[in-house]
């Protein structure tokens, strides 16, 4: 998996060990306290499935689940999440063992370039857990923080609806 790297620059004095629980495993990073959770995942843990589209909380590409809640990982610092349970796209499902939502995204062609996709899937996972969305309109409203420049929106909504139905009928 990813290389556990350490910040080597000016802030080496400020660099501190941080332990994050990511996808069920404790991972130790040595980072400056101002490293965002997003950069921590991508650049220090090699978990590049979480994407950076804006670094400003404006696109949703960096969405991950922290204690089951969807957040923009570019808007928060890694050090703030010691002790929390972090789940990224790599922890949702893997090739050969896809999560139903991932399969639904493939079946509905809910992506093109795929860059917004991990964020959409993490966000949809959080959305389904929230249990707030009942209709396609509500899905659209509550997924509006996740931009897709390829314009796969109708297929994304269809995939989420499908996964919601499957989740409801599951025993």
């Amino acid at each position: 998996m990813g290389t556990e790297a350490s910040a080597a620059g000016v802030f080496s004095a400020a660099v501190r060990p941080v332990t994050l629980s990511v996808n069920g495993a404790d991972r130790e990073l040595r980072i400056a306290p101002w490293t965002t959770l997003l950069d921590g995942l991508r650049e220090y843990l090699g978990l590049t499935g979480t994407k950076k589209g804006c670094d400003h909380g404006q696109c949703g590409a960096c969405t991950v689940l922290v204690d089951g809640v969807r957040i923009n990982s570019c808007l928060t610092l890694a050090v703030m999440h010691e002790g929390a349970t972090i789940r990224t796209i790599e922890g949702i499902g893997a090739e050969g063992a896809l999560h139903p939502l991932q399969q639904a995204f493939i079946d509905h062609d809910a992506f093109q370039c795929g860059y917004c996709t991990p964020g959409q899937i993490c966000s949809a996972t959080g959305l389904i857990a929230e249990g707030r969305a009942r209709t396609p309109e509500e899905i659209r409203e509550l997924m509006s923080g996740n931009l897709c420049r390829c314009g796969a929106y109708p297929n994304i909504v269809a995939a989420i609806e499908h996964a919601m139905r499957v989740a409801e009928t599951a025993p």
């Binding site: 620059g9 950069d39 589209g53 659209r140 390829c150 929106y153």
Partner: protein, 743 residues
């Protein structure tokens, strides 16, 4: 012949990699001992750097180097060396070349450090002093300086020749309109920012992971700019997080990353910020004027279409804007003008259906306006002026099923139930409007190569240096290969986005499916021929006196249809011949005679419904039907998505997208995704319906494919604008149609 994969709704073969986060994009390749480069951008639009002070940045522990124009390495001298495959005429921008500032947010320094946080911080310490020059960024103010570009851009058709006498015909026409349309700057804003990771290896070998639509274009740019050997530069780009034309030309981050890597003899990654994504490549700001003269029954007598677009000071960026009206409508008297205005912005770049989105927006709005002027149904007016040949040059089309698009789209949408009067349809406090427009794009076939390798298993690999920017190239290559050799699609692996693979043009212009598709098919057919020879030559071969015309390749076998006993498994043929692999590389180009004899285009009819809340000025698109004639559709799923994505971007163009310049500063103000609005989930109706109209066209390309990447956006903005007029009675001629223009 019945098909197993071609023409079916096949799921993306790269889907599992994309939904699991396993797909790696340019800025994500793991590289040992990587350094990070952060770009410092100019704060003025024009002038000179008088002093640049890197001392504070260099003093930060962990900073490796700060590159500026003062210490950059030697690069090529001639403009020619900087011109990439799709460069317009002129002198390409050279990053860190000298003290001159040509546009706001131009890169002026690259700070390289051991980690990203340090590089970002140190970049904030670089002090740059400027001598500011006067800048001109305002197209409207400068329109008097518009000129006809003296040198044509390669591959861009100049405006058509005039026909008849448009001035006289307009003056004499019983009914006429003359209108002006304006479109703003738009930025591509793919979700993935531009990024390059350069892996530096001993002996100066570079592996360049780049976000690009053309790995070989980037490779030749790097070798010619830095004087490197092609054998030492490999460019790799297996996944591209959207591009829409912004990745056709090498962007400055690849220059900076390669420069730093070769100078430092280290691996380097440079990723642009979203703000910096607004510092290059955009759809130009345009002003268009259209005059139409017609008989009361709708027959067009005269048409003039003039467009002015902005370009940079250093290049004459050109696109095909005005030709579309001449292509679509057969007015006997017509004239066309296309001019540029120099501005102190970076050069514009091709953005999804470049030129056509703008020109078709103007003509299709004007036709709607004329329909109201004549009290005719907008669709009927179009049909009254329908052309069976390309009116610009008199050539026949390889095929044109636009009439069927109109008919099927209208039927599906329910156009016949439309009350033509503006403001006639309401529900609650919302006004409902129905509008329609035509779309057209080119159906090009470019010369391209592909390789096919068949091994026991059977396992089939097909490879070409093309790209998949979300368009579905991986999938259609796999489909064509599986179909041609009769193996399951799971047995096919596809390689692309690597400069060492067989030659491919940049991925653009909607030509990839037709061009790479033809090359893949040809390579697989050659392998098929070789394989058949092996199978027939086996001892006691059940196919001994069979002819390749009469066998089928299916289920991993070669067999006689209807006689299952006469079949040879691929593996057996390979094994018996002691052949480990059968391989073929083929290059296929367009038929030159056919190119000269025919016009080749895709067409569409777009129907849109909007709902406008007049009190709030909010316009929502609630329904779109887009009927497309694009020859053979290779994959209904990915093809449908292509058109749908185009429609979504067209909705953005109609209602949201606009990069706003501050002309006092010569700078874009809304250079972020919160203020540069692109459609979000809530803006997009579930009901975007794509109809593929049947169009049989063996002439246009070997597979009969025309391409789908651009056609979906063309016409969409006009259909929405026309629907808004129908809803409100307000005609908005400058995009986007925002609240302030509707209140």
């Amino acid at each position: 012949m019945s098909m197993t994969y071609l023409g079916k709704a096949v799921s993306r073969v790269d889907g599992p990699a994309k939904v699991t986060g396993a797909a790696r994009y340019a800025g994500e390749f793991p590289v040992p001992e990587l350094t990070y480069g952060v770009v410092v951008s100019s704060t003025i639009a024009r002038g000179k750097i008088t002093r640049i002070d890197s001392a504070a940045a260099l003093g930060v522990p962990g900073v490796v180097q700060v590159f500026t124009h003062e210490n950059r390495p030697h690069t090529a001298y001639l403009n020619r060396s900087w011109r990439d495959e799709v460069a317009p005429p002129g002198a390409p921008f050279r990053p860190l070349y000298d003290a001159e500032i040509h546009f706001s947010a131009q890169p002026v320094a690259l700070v390289v450090a051991e980690d990203f946080e340090t590089a970002r911080y140190a970049a904030s310490l670089v002090r740059v002093e400027y001598e500011q020059g006067p800048h001109t960024t305002d197209l409207e103010r400068e329109r008097g300086t518009a000129y006809v570009p003296p040198k044509k851009r390669n591959g861009i058709a100049p405006p058509p020749d005039p026909r008849g006498n448009a001035v006289e015909a307009l003056a004499a026409a019983p009914r006429k309109i003359a209108r002006q349309y304006v479109s703003p700057f738009e930025h591509h804003n793919p979700m993935e920012p531009f990024a390059t990771t350069v892996l530096w290896q001993d002996a100066g070998r570079l592996t360049v992971f780049d976000k690009t639509q053309g790995v070989q274009n980037v490779q030749s740019y790097i070798t010619s700019v830095f004087g490197l050997k092609a054998a030492n530069v490999q460019v790799i780009s297996p996944f591209v997080g959207g591009a829409f034309g912004s990745g056709l030309r090498p962007q400055y981050q690849v220059f900076l990353a390669v420069m730093a890597a070769t100078e430092l003899e280290r691996s380097v990654r440079v990723t642009l910020t979203r703000q910096q994504m607004f510092s290059f490549s955009y759809r130009p700001n345009t002003i268009q004027a259209i005059s139409l003269g017609a008989r009361p029954d709708g027959k067009l007598l005269a048409l003039t279409h003039e467009a002015i677009g902005n370009t940079s000071q250093h290049e004459d960026y050109q696109e095909t804007v005005v030709n579309w009206s001449g292509l679509l409508y057969g007015a006997e008297n017509a004239s066309f003008i296309y001019k540029l205005v120099k501005t102190d912005w970076a050069s514009p770049a091709d953005m999804r259906a470049p030129g056509a989105t703008l020109g078709v927006f103007a003509i299709e709005t004007a036709i709607d306006e004329l329909a109201y002027e004549l009290s005719l149904d907008p669709l009927a007016l179009r049909l009254a002026n329908y052309t069976e040949r390309d009116e610009n040059d008199g050539k026949p089309f390889t095929s044109k099923e636009l009439r069927a698009c109109y008919q099927q789209g209208a039927e599906r949408f329910g156009w016949s139930k439309r009350n033509p009067a503006p403001r006639s349809m309401t529900e609650g406090r919302e006004l409902i409007g129905w509008g329609m427009a035509t779309g057209a794009w080119e159906a090009l076939h470019m010369k391209a190569a592909a390789r096919a390798t068949l091994r026991a298993g059977p396992m089939l690999e097909v490879a070409s240096a093309t790209a998949d920017i979300g368009t579905g190239t991986y999938t259609i290559m796999a489909q064509i290969a599986a179909e041609t050799l009769g193996v399951p699609i799971e047995a096919v692996s596809v390689k692309l986005g690597d400069s060492s693979l067989p030659k491919s043009p940049i991925e653009g212009g909607s030509w990839t499916a037709a061009s790479i598709g033809a090359a893949v098919q040809a390579a697989c057919e050659t392998v098929r021929g070789k394989l058949f020879k092996l199978a027939r030559g086996l001892e006691n071969s059940p196919l001994a006196n069979a002819d390749i015309e009469h066998v089928e390749f299916a289920d991993g076998t070669i067999r006689l249809p209807g006689d299952p006993s006469r079949s040879v498994p691929i593996d057996r043929a390979l094994a018996a011949a002691g052949t480990e692999a059968l391989e073929a590389e083929e290059t296929v180009g367009p038929g030159l005679i056919s190119s000269r004899r025919f016009s080749r285009n895709t067409h569409s009819a777009v129907f849109a419904e909007v709902r406008v809340d007049e009190e709030l000025g909010i316009a929502r698109v609630t329904r779109v039907v887009n009927a497309v004639a694009a020859g053979r559709i290779l994959n209904l799923k990915t093809g449908g998505s292509q058109v749908m994505g185009g429609v979504v971007m067209g909705i953005g163009m109609a209602l949201h997208e606009e990069t706003m310049p501050d002309h006092a500063l010569g700078r874009f103000m809304n250079h972020n995704l919160a203020e540069y609005h692109i459609p979000v989930h809530a803006d997009i109706p579930a009901a975007i319906e794509v109809i593929f109209v049947e169009e049989h066209d063996p002439e246009v390309s070997p597979l009969g494919v025309k391409g789908l990447g651009e056609i979906g956006i063309v016409g969409t903005a006009a259909a929405i604008g026309n629907a808004i007029y129908h809803a409100t009675g307000k005609r908005v001629r400058d995009l986007p149609i925002t609240i302030d223009k509707l209140l």
